[in-house]
Point group: C2
Chain length 199, copies 2
Amino acid sequence: MARTQGSHSDITGPRIREAALRLFARHGFAAVSMRQIASEVGVQAGALYNYIPDKQALLASLLRGHMDDLLAAWQAEATTGDTTEKLERFVRFHIRYNLERPDAIFISYMELRNLTPENFAQIEALRKTYESTLEGILRDGHEAGRFDVPDPAVTTYALIAMLTGVNTWYRSAGRLTVDEVCDIYWTMTRRMIAASSEA
Amino acid sequence: MARTQGSHSDITGPRIREAALRLFARHGFAAVSMRQIASEVGVQAGALYNYIPDKQALLASLLRGHMDDLLAAWQAEATTGDTTEKLERFVRFHIRYNLERPDAIFISYMELRNLTPENFAQIEALRKTYESTLEGILRDGHEAGRFDVPDPAVTTYALIAMLTGVNTWYRSAGRLTVDEVCDIYWTMTRRMIAASSEA
DNA sequence: GTCTTAACTGAACAAGCGTTCAGATCAAGC
DNA sequence: GCTTGATCTGAACGCTTGTTCAGTTAAGAC
Protein backbone atom coordinates (compact mmCIF):
# COMPACT_ATOMS: atom_id res chain seq x y z
CA MET A 1 0.00 0.00 0.00
CA ALA A 2 2.55 2.55 -1.08
CA ARG A 3 1.76 6.20 -1.55
CA THR A 4 -1.00 6.48 1.01
CA GLN A 5 0.13 10.03 1.51
CA GLY A 6 1.00 12.19 -1.43
CA SER A 7 -1.39 10.10 -3.45
CA HIS A 8 -3.69 11.91 -5.80
CA SER A 9 -6.52 9.42 -5.47
CA ASP A 10 -8.25 11.31 -2.70
CA ILE A 11 -8.17 14.41 -4.86
CA THR A 12 -8.82 13.00 -8.30
CA GLY A 13 -11.85 10.98 -7.23
CA PRO A 14 -13.91 13.92 -5.97
CA ARG A 15 -12.73 16.10 -8.82
CA ILE A 16 -14.05 13.58 -11.32
CA ARG A 17 -17.44 13.68 -9.62
CA GLU A 18 -17.49 17.47 -9.53
CA ALA A 19 -16.51 17.81 -13.17
CA ALA A 20 -19.02 15.18 -14.26
CA LEU A 21 -21.82 16.80 -12.27
CA ARG A 22 -21.13 20.20 -13.77
CA LEU A 23 -20.76 18.92 -17.33
CA PHE A 24 -23.79 16.61 -17.19
CA ALA A 25 -25.90 19.49 -15.88
CA ARG A 26 -24.65 21.86 -18.55
CA HIS A 27 -24.73 19.64 -21.65
CA GLY A 28 -26.56 16.47 -20.68
CA PHE A 29 -25.27 12.99 -19.93
CA ALA A 30 -25.26 11.70 -23.49
CA ALA A 31 -23.59 14.83 -24.86
CA VAL A 32 -20.61 14.70 -22.49
CA SER A 33 -17.66 12.43 -23.33
CA MET A 34 -15.33 10.74 -20.90
CA ARG A 35 -12.51 12.67 -22.53
CA GLN A 36 -14.21 15.97 -21.68
CA ILE A 37 -14.55 14.96 -18.04
CA ALA A 38 -10.93 13.79 -17.92
CA SER A 39 -9.77 17.01 -19.53
CA GLU A 40 -11.53 19.08 -16.84
CA VAL A 41 -9.76 17.05 -14.18
CA GLY A 42 -6.44 17.36 -15.98
CA VAL A 43 -6.00 13.67 -16.67
CA GLN A 44 -6.29 11.20 -19.52
CA ALA A 45 -9.59 9.43 -20.16
CA GLY A 46 -8.20 6.05 -19.17
CA ALA A 47 -7.40 7.29 -15.67
CA LEU A 48 -11.11 7.76 -14.92
CA TYR A 49 -11.51 3.99 -14.87
CA ASN A 50 -9.43 3.79 -11.71
CA TYR A 51 -12.38 5.43 -9.98
CA ILE A 52 -15.51 4.29 -11.79
CA PRO A 53 -16.52 1.07 -13.53
CA ASP A 54 -18.14 2.92 -16.45
CA LYS A 55 -19.98 6.07 -17.47
CA GLN A 56 -23.39 4.80 -16.46
CA ALA A 57 -22.20 3.95 -12.95
CA LEU A 58 -20.79 7.47 -12.62
CA LEU A 59 -24.19 8.98 -13.33
CA ALA A 60 -25.96 6.57 -11.01
CA SER A 61 -23.47 7.27 -8.25
CA LEU A 62 -23.95 11.03 -8.59
CA LEU A 63 -27.71 10.71 -8.41
CA ARG A 64 -27.68 8.27 -5.52
CA GLY A 65 -25.22 10.46 -3.64
CA HIS A 66 -27.46 13.45 -4.12
CA MET A 67 -30.57 11.65 -2.93
CA ASP A 68 -28.76 10.27 0.13
CA ASP A 69 -27.53 13.75 1.03
CA LEU A 70 -30.99 15.22 0.53
CA LEU A 71 -32.71 12.66 2.75
CA ALA A 72 -30.05 13.00 5.45
CA ALA A 73 -30.28 16.80 5.39
CA TRP A 74 -34.04 16.75 5.70
CA GLN A 75 -33.98 14.22 8.51
CA ALA A 76 -31.58 16.45 10.41
CA GLU A 77 -34.06 19.29 10.04
CA ALA A 78 -37.38 17.57 10.56
CA THR A 79 -37.44 16.84 14.25
CA THR A 80 -39.63 19.05 16.44
CA GLY A 81 -42.66 21.27 16.09
CA ASP A 82 -46.32 20.93 15.18
CA THR A 83 -47.63 20.10 11.72
CA THR A 84 -47.78 23.66 10.43
CA GLU A 85 -44.23 24.32 11.58
CA LYS A 86 -43.08 21.13 9.90
CA LEU A 87 -44.66 22.18 6.63
CA GLU A 88 -43.12 25.62 6.79
CA ARG A 89 -39.76 24.04 7.48
CA PHE A 90 -40.16 21.73 4.51
CA VAL A 91 -40.99 24.59 2.17
CA ARG A 92 -38.01 26.67 3.24
CA PHE A 93 -35.69 23.67 3.38
CA HIS A 94 -36.59 22.49 -0.11
CA ILE A 95 -36.10 25.89 -1.73
CA ARG A 96 -32.81 26.56 0.04
CA TYR A 97 -31.37 23.11 -0.47
CA ASN A 98 -32.21 23.12 -4.18
CA LEU A 99 -30.86 26.60 -4.78
CA GLU A 100 -27.56 25.60 -3.22
CA ARG A 101 -27.14 22.58 -5.54
CA PRO A 102 -28.57 23.56 -8.91
CA ASP A 103 -26.46 21.09 -10.89
CA ALA A 104 -27.39 18.07 -8.77
CA ILE A 105 -31.06 19.02 -8.84
CA PHE A 106 -30.97 19.54 -12.56
CA ILE A 107 -29.54 16.15 -13.44
CA SER A 108 -31.78 14.48 -10.87
CA TYR A 109 -34.76 15.55 -12.93
CA MET A 110 -33.25 15.35 -16.40
CA GLU A 111 -31.06 12.29 -16.52
CA LEU A 112 -33.26 9.67 -14.90
CA ARG A 113 -34.01 8.24 -18.33
CA ASN A 114 -30.32 7.58 -18.93
CA LEU A 115 -30.17 5.18 -15.99
CA THR A 116 -30.43 1.44 -16.41
CA PRO A 117 -33.76 0.10 -15.10
CA GLU A 118 -32.01 -1.17 -11.98
CA ASN A 119 -30.41 2.14 -11.14
CA PHE A 120 -33.59 4.00 -12.05
CA ALA A 121 -35.65 1.95 -9.62
CA GLN A 122 -33.22 2.68 -6.79
CA ILE A 123 -33.13 6.44 -7.36
CA GLU A 124 -36.87 6.63 -7.90
CA ALA A 125 -37.47 4.86 -4.59
CA LEU A 126 -35.33 7.43 -2.79
CA ARG A 127 -37.23 10.28 -4.37
CA LYS A 128 -40.52 8.67 -3.46
CA THR A 129 -39.30 8.46 0.13
CA TYR A 130 -38.56 12.17 0.16
CA GLU A 131 -41.88 13.15 -1.36
CA SER A 132 -43.71 10.86 1.04
CA THR A 133 -42.51 12.89 3.98
CA LEU A 134 -44.29 15.90 2.52
CA GLU A 135 -47.41 13.88 1.83
CA GLY A 136 -47.30 12.63 5.44
CA ILE A 137 -47.22 16.18 6.75
CA LEU A 138 -50.18 17.18 4.58
CA ARG A 139 -52.15 14.11 5.66
CA ASP A 140 -51.43 14.71 9.35
CA GLY A 141 -52.42 18.35 9.09
CA HIS A 142 -55.62 17.48 7.27
CA GLU A 143 -56.64 14.83 9.78
CA ALA A 144 -55.86 17.18 12.66
CA GLY A 145 -58.14 19.75 11.08
CA ARG A 146 -55.37 22.29 10.63
CA PHE A 147 -55.20 22.04 6.83
CA ASP A 148 -57.87 21.52 4.20
CA VAL A 149 -56.23 19.04 1.81
CA PRO A 150 -58.81 16.78 0.19
CA ASP A 151 -56.23 15.10 -2.07
CA PRO A 152 -52.84 14.89 -0.33
CA ALA A 153 -51.20 12.97 -3.19
CA VAL A 154 -52.03 15.57 -5.84
CA THR A 155 -51.26 18.43 -3.48
CA THR A 156 -47.85 16.89 -2.84
CA TYR A 157 -47.11 16.76 -6.57
CA ALA A 158 -48.28 20.34 -6.97
CA LEU A 159 -46.19 21.63 -4.07
CA ILE A 160 -43.02 19.78 -5.08
CA ALA A 161 -43.30 21.05 -8.65
CA MET A 162 -43.96 24.59 -7.48
CA LEU A 163 -41.05 24.64 -5.05
CA THR A 164 -38.59 22.92 -7.36
CA GLY A 165 -39.52 25.40 -10.06
CA VAL A 166 -37.69 28.14 -8.17
CA ASN A 167 -34.43 26.78 -9.56
CA THR A 168 -35.46 27.60 -13.10
CA TRP A 169 -35.78 31.33 -12.55
CA TYR A 170 -34.03 32.45 -9.36
CA ARG A 171 -30.75 34.35 -9.76
CA SER A 172 -28.92 35.56 -6.69
CA ALA A 173 -28.08 38.82 -8.43
CA GLY A 174 -31.77 39.48 -9.00
CA ARG A 175 -34.47 41.45 -7.25
CA LEU A 176 -35.18 39.07 -4.37
CA THR A 177 -33.16 37.44 -1.60
CA VAL A 178 -33.57 33.73 -0.89
CA ASP A 179 -35.38 34.64 2.32
CA GLU A 180 -37.87 36.77 0.46
CA VAL A 181 -38.48 33.97 -2.02
CA CYS A 182 -39.07 31.53 0.84
CA ASP A 183 -41.53 33.96 2.42
CA ILE A 184 -43.50 34.32 -0.80
CA TYR A 185 -43.64 30.58 -1.42
CA TRP A 186 -44.62 29.88 2.17
CA THR A 187 -47.49 32.34 1.86
CA MET A 188 -48.67 30.66 -1.33
CA THR A 189 -48.34 27.24 0.28
CA ARG A 190 -50.29 28.29 3.37
CA ARG A 191 -53.10 29.56 1.20
CA MET A 192 -53.08 26.48 -1.03
CA ILE A 193 -53.74 24.18 1.90
CA ALA A 194 -56.06 26.72 3.50
CA ALA A 195 -54.12 26.82 6.77
CA SER A 196 -55.47 29.36 9.22
CA SER A 197 -53.43 32.29 10.61
CA GLU A 198 -51.97 34.23 7.68
CA ALA A 199 -49.32 35.67 9.96
CA MET B 1 -42.36 19.29 -61.29
CA ALA B 2 -42.98 15.61 -61.75
CA ARG B 3 -44.55 13.40 -59.16
CA THR B 4 -46.65 16.01 -57.42
CA GLN B 5 -49.14 13.27 -56.71
CA GLY B 6 -48.05 9.89 -55.55
CA SER B 7 -45.04 11.61 -54.04
CA HIS B 8 -43.98 10.50 -50.62
CA SER B 9 -42.61 13.87 -49.58
CA ASP B 10 -45.85 15.00 -47.97
CA ILE B 11 -45.88 11.80 -45.95
CA THR B 12 -42.21 11.35 -45.15
CA GLY B 13 -41.74 14.91 -43.92
CA PRO B 14 -44.33 14.73 -41.13
CA ARG B 15 -43.31 11.20 -40.26
CA ILE B 16 -39.74 12.35 -39.70
CA ARG B 17 -40.99 15.01 -37.32
CA GLU B 18 -43.22 12.59 -35.46
CA ALA B 19 -40.49 10.01 -35.09
CA ALA B 20 -37.94 12.59 -34.00
CA LEU B 21 -40.33 14.08 -31.44
CA ARG B 22 -41.07 10.68 -29.94
CA LEU B 23 -37.44 9.55 -29.89
CA PHE B 24 -36.07 12.84 -28.55
CA ALA B 25 -38.64 12.77 -25.75
CA ARG B 26 -37.88 9.16 -24.90
CA HIS B 27 -34.08 9.12 -25.06
CA GLY B 28 -32.94 12.72 -25.35
CA PHE B 29 -31.68 14.69 -28.34
CA ALA B 30 -28.02 13.74 -27.99
CA ALA B 31 -28.78 10.07 -27.46
CA VAL B 32 -30.82 9.69 -30.65
CA SER B 33 -29.03 9.13 -33.95
CA MET B 34 -30.20 10.15 -37.38
CA ARG B 35 -30.14 6.46 -38.30
CA GLN B 36 -32.62 5.67 -35.52
CA ILE B 37 -35.00 8.36 -36.75
CA ALA B 38 -34.64 7.17 -40.34
CA SER B 39 -35.25 3.59 -39.30
CA GLU B 40 -38.52 4.55 -37.58
CA VAL B 41 -39.65 6.24 -40.77
CA GLY B 42 -38.55 3.27 -42.87
CA VAL B 43 -35.91 5.12 -44.83
CA GLN B 44 -32.13 5.50 -45.00
CA ALA B 45 -30.41 8.19 -42.95
CA GLY B 46 -29.37 10.15 -46.02
CA ALA B 47 -32.99 10.64 -47.05
CA LEU B 48 -33.66 12.78 -43.98
CA TYR B 49 -31.55 15.52 -45.49
CA ASN B 50 -34.14 16.08 -48.20
CA TYR B 51 -36.31 17.50 -45.43
CA ILE B 52 -34.01 19.10 -42.89
CA PRO B 53 -30.66 20.93 -43.14
CA ASP B 54 -29.23 19.15 -40.10
CA LYS B 55 -30.07 17.56 -36.76
CA GLN B 56 -29.98 20.81 -34.83
CA ALA B 57 -32.45 22.46 -37.20
CA LEU B 58 -34.79 19.51 -36.75
CA LEU B 59 -34.88 20.05 -32.99
CA ALA B 60 -35.30 23.80 -33.35
CA SER B 61 -38.11 23.32 -35.84
CA LEU B 62 -39.94 20.93 -33.51
CA LEU B 63 -39.69 23.33 -30.59
CA ARG B 64 -40.68 26.36 -32.63
CA GLY B 65 -43.62 24.47 -34.10
CA HIS B 66 -44.78 23.50 -30.64
CA MET B 67 -44.56 27.03 -29.29
CA ASP B 68 -46.40 28.43 -32.30
CA ASP B 69 -49.18 25.90 -31.86
CA LEU B 70 -49.40 26.60 -28.15
CA LEU B 71 -49.68 30.36 -28.60
CA ALA B 72 -52.24 29.97 -31.37
CA ALA B 73 -54.32 27.55 -29.31
CA TRP B 74 -54.34 29.85 -26.29
CA GLN B 75 -55.24 32.89 -28.37
CA ALA B 76 -58.20 30.99 -29.78
CA GLU B 77 -59.36 30.31 -26.22
CA ALA B 78 -58.61 33.57 -24.46
CA THR B 79 -61.24 35.88 -25.78
CA THR B 80 -64.14 36.71 -23.49
CA GLY B 81 -64.92 36.78 -19.79
CA ASP B 82 -63.77 38.64 -16.71
CA THR B 83 -60.37 38.21 -15.07
CA THR B 84 -61.30 35.29 -12.84
CA GLU B 85 -62.84 33.43 -15.76
CA LYS B 86 -59.73 34.07 -17.82
CA LEU B 87 -57.52 32.66 -15.11
CA GLU B 88 -59.69 29.58 -14.74
CA ARG B 89 -59.58 29.09 -18.49
CA PHE B 90 -55.79 29.39 -18.47
CA VAL B 91 -55.42 26.79 -15.72
CA ARG B 92 -57.64 24.27 -17.45
CA PHE B 93 -56.22 25.04 -20.89
CA HIS B 94 -52.63 24.61 -19.76
CA ILE B 95 -53.24 21.27 -18.06
CA ARG B 96 -55.27 19.85 -20.93
CA TYR B 97 -53.00 21.09 -23.67
CA ASN B 98 -49.90 19.72 -21.94
CA LEU B 99 -51.45 16.35 -21.19
CA GLU B 100 -52.38 15.96 -24.85
CA ARG B 101 -48.79 16.56 -26.05
CA PRO B 102 -46.48 15.03 -23.46
CA ASP B 103 -43.59 14.52 -25.87
CA ALA B 104 -43.56 18.08 -27.16
CA ILE B 105 -43.83 19.47 -23.64
CA PHE B 106 -41.05 17.22 -22.44
CA ILE B 107 -38.51 18.23 -25.05
CA SER B 108 -39.53 21.87 -24.73
CA TYR B 109 -38.26 21.79 -21.16
CA MET B 110 -35.39 19.35 -21.54
CA GLU B 111 -33.71 20.10 -24.82
CA LEU B 112 -33.41 23.86 -24.74
CA ARG B 113 -29.74 23.53 -23.86
CA ASN B 114 -29.10 21.62 -27.09
CA LEU B 115 -30.16 24.59 -29.19
CA THR B 116 -27.69 27.02 -30.69
CA PRO B 117 -27.81 30.41 -28.95
CA GLU B 118 -29.77 31.83 -31.87
CA ASN B 119 -32.43 29.15 -31.81
CA PHE B 120 -32.56 29.25 -28.03
CA ALA B 121 -33.27 32.97 -28.00
CA GLN B 122 -36.14 32.53 -30.44
CA ILE B 123 -37.82 29.71 -28.52
CA GLU B 124 -37.25 31.43 -25.19
CA ALA B 125 -38.94 34.57 -26.48
CA LEU B 126 -42.00 32.56 -27.49
CA ARG B 127 -42.21 30.95 -24.08
CA LYS B 128 -41.85 34.32 -22.41
CA THR B 129 -44.76 35.54 -24.51
CA TYR B 130 -46.92 32.68 -23.30
CA GLU B 131 -46.02 33.16 -19.65
CA SER B 132 -46.59 36.88 -19.94
CA THR B 133 -50.23 36.30 -20.74
CA LEU B 134 -50.62 34.59 -17.37
CA GLU B 135 -48.72 37.35 -15.61
CA GLY B 136 -51.00 39.88 -17.30
CA ILE B 137 -54.08 38.13 -15.98
CA LEU B 138 -52.67 38.06 -12.45
CA ARG B 139 -51.71 41.73 -12.64
CA ASP B 140 -55.14 42.74 -13.94
CA GLY B 141 -56.92 40.78 -11.25
CA HIS B 142 -54.73 42.26 -8.55
CA GLU B 143 -55.26 45.81 -9.70
CA ALA B 144 -58.98 45.23 -9.98
CA GLY B 145 -59.00 44.03 -6.38
CA ARG B 146 -60.23 40.56 -7.31
CA PHE B 147 -56.96 38.74 -6.54
CA ASP B 148 -54.34 39.28 -3.87
CA VAL B 149 -51.07 38.84 -5.79
CA PRO B 150 -48.31 41.01 -4.33
CA ASP B 151 -45.66 39.56 -6.68
CA PRO B 152 -47.18 38.64 -10.05
CA ALA B 153 -43.84 37.58 -11.55
CA VAL B 154 -43.06 35.01 -8.87
CA THR B 155 -46.65 33.84 -8.74
CA THR B 156 -46.54 33.27 -12.48
CA TYR B 157 -43.44 31.10 -12.14
CA ALA B 158 -45.03 29.18 -9.29
CA LEU B 159 -48.27 28.58 -11.18
CA ILE B 160 -46.61 27.54 -14.42
CA ALA B 161 -44.37 25.09 -12.59
CA MET B 162 -47.27 23.68 -10.61
CA LEU B 163 -49.50 23.22 -13.67
CA THR B 164 -46.77 21.85 -15.91
CA GLY B 165 -45.88 19.38 -13.19
CA VAL B 166 -49.09 17.47 -13.87
CA ASN B 167 -47.40 15.86 -16.85
CA THR B 168 -44.85 14.14 -14.61
CA TRP B 169 -47.41 12.11 -12.68
CA TYR B 170 -50.78 11.98 -14.43
CA ARG B 171 -51.72 8.70 -16.10
CA SER B 172 -55.05 8.39 -17.87
CA ALA B 173 -55.50 4.89 -16.45
CA GLY B 174 -55.16 6.24 -12.90
CA ARG B 175 -57.55 7.29 -10.19
CA LEU B 176 -58.54 10.69 -11.58
CA THR B 177 -60.03 12.02 -14.82
CA VAL B 178 -58.50 15.06 -16.49
CA ASP B 179 -61.55 17.05 -15.45
CA GLU B 180 -61.05 16.12 -11.81
CA VAL B 181 -57.38 17.09 -12.02
CA CYS B 182 -58.32 20.44 -13.51
CA ASP B 183 -60.85 21.00 -10.73
CA ILE B 184 -58.28 20.28 -8.03
CA TYR B 185 -55.66 22.54 -9.60
CA TRP B 186 -58.17 25.32 -10.12
CA THR B 187 -59.12 25.14 -6.45
CA MET B 188 -55.46 25.35 -5.43
CA THR B 189 -54.89 28.23 -7.84
CA ARG B 190 -57.90 30.14 -6.56
CA ARG B 191 -56.66 29.81 -3.01
CA MET B 192 -53.10 30.75 -3.93
CA ILE B 193 -54.18 34.09 -5.33
CA ALA B 194 -56.79 34.48 -2.59
CA ALA B 195 -59.64 34.93 -5.03
CA SER B 196 -63.00 35.20 -3.36
CA SER B 197 -65.93 32.79 -3.96
CA GLU B 198 -64.73 29.21 -3.43
CA ALA B 199 -67.59 27.97 -5.55
C1' DG C 1 -42.97 5.85 -74.93
C1' DT C 2 -39.78 9.09 -73.72
C1' DC C 3 -38.25 12.69 -70.73
C1' DT C 4 -37.82 14.83 -66.36
C1' DT C 5 -36.99 15.07 -61.73
C1' DA C 6 -38.42 14.30 -56.85
C1' DA C 7 -37.25 10.72 -53.70
C1' DC C 8 -34.34 7.57 -52.03
C1' DT C 9 -30.31 4.14 -51.54
C1' DG C 10 -25.96 2.63 -50.13
C1' DA C 11 -21.48 3.48 -49.53
C1' DA C 12 -18.16 6.47 -48.00
C1' DC C 13 -16.01 10.34 -45.04
C1' DA C 14 -13.48 12.07 -41.04
C1' DA C 15 -14.29 12.43 -36.39
C1' DG C 16 -15.45 10.95 -32.06
C1' DC C 17 -17.23 7.44 -28.85
C1' DG C 18 -16.52 4.21 -24.33
C1' DT C 19 -13.36 1.21 -22.83
C1' DT C 20 -8.95 -1.58 -22.34
C1' DC C 21 -4.24 -2.27 -21.23
C1' DA C 22 0.89 -2.64 -21.47
C1' DG C 23 4.12 0.23 -19.84
C1' DA C 24 6.02 4.58 -17.59
C1' DT C 25 6.23 7.25 -13.29
C1' DC C 26 7.29 8.14 -8.71
C1' DA C 27 6.28 8.57 -3.64
C1' DA C 28 6.14 5.55 0.53
C1' DG C 29 7.95 1.52 3.11
C1' DC C 30 11.73 -0.89 4.60
C1' DG D 1 18.67 2.62 -2.32
C1' DC D 2 15.95 -0.94 -3.67
C1' DT D 3 11.22 -2.67 -3.94
C1' DT D 4 6.37 -2.08 -4.20
C1' DG D 5 2.23 -0.76 -6.09
C1' DA D 6 -1.08 3.03 -6.68
C1' DT D 7 -1.60 6.30 -10.35
C1' DC D 8 -1.54 7.73 -14.74
C1' DT D 9 -0.20 7.91 -19.90
C1' DG D 10 -0.76 7.07 -24.63
C1' DA D 11 -2.02 4.24 -27.99
C1' DA D 12 -5.11 1.15 -29.61
C1' DC D 13 -9.80 -1.54 -30.06
C1' DG D 14 -14.20 -1.83 -32.63
C1' DC D 15 -18.02 0.86 -33.23
C1' DT D 16 -21.08 4.80 -34.02
C1' DT D 17 -21.71 9.53 -35.18
C1' DG D 18 -23.61 13.48 -38.57
C1' DT D 19 -23.30 14.46 -43.09
C1' DT D 20 -22.35 14.07 -48.24
C1' DC D 21 -23.11 12.41 -52.79
C1' DA D 22 -22.98 9.67 -57.10
C1' DG D 23 -26.15 6.72 -58.74
C1' DT D 24 -30.79 4.12 -58.87
C1' DT D 25 -35.80 4.16 -58.94
C1' DA D 26 -40.27 5.28 -60.39
C1' DA D 27 -44.17 8.29 -61.17
C1' DG D 28 -46.14 12.54 -63.60
C1' DA D 29 -45.90 15.37 -67.95
C1' DC D 30 -46.10 15.51 -72.67
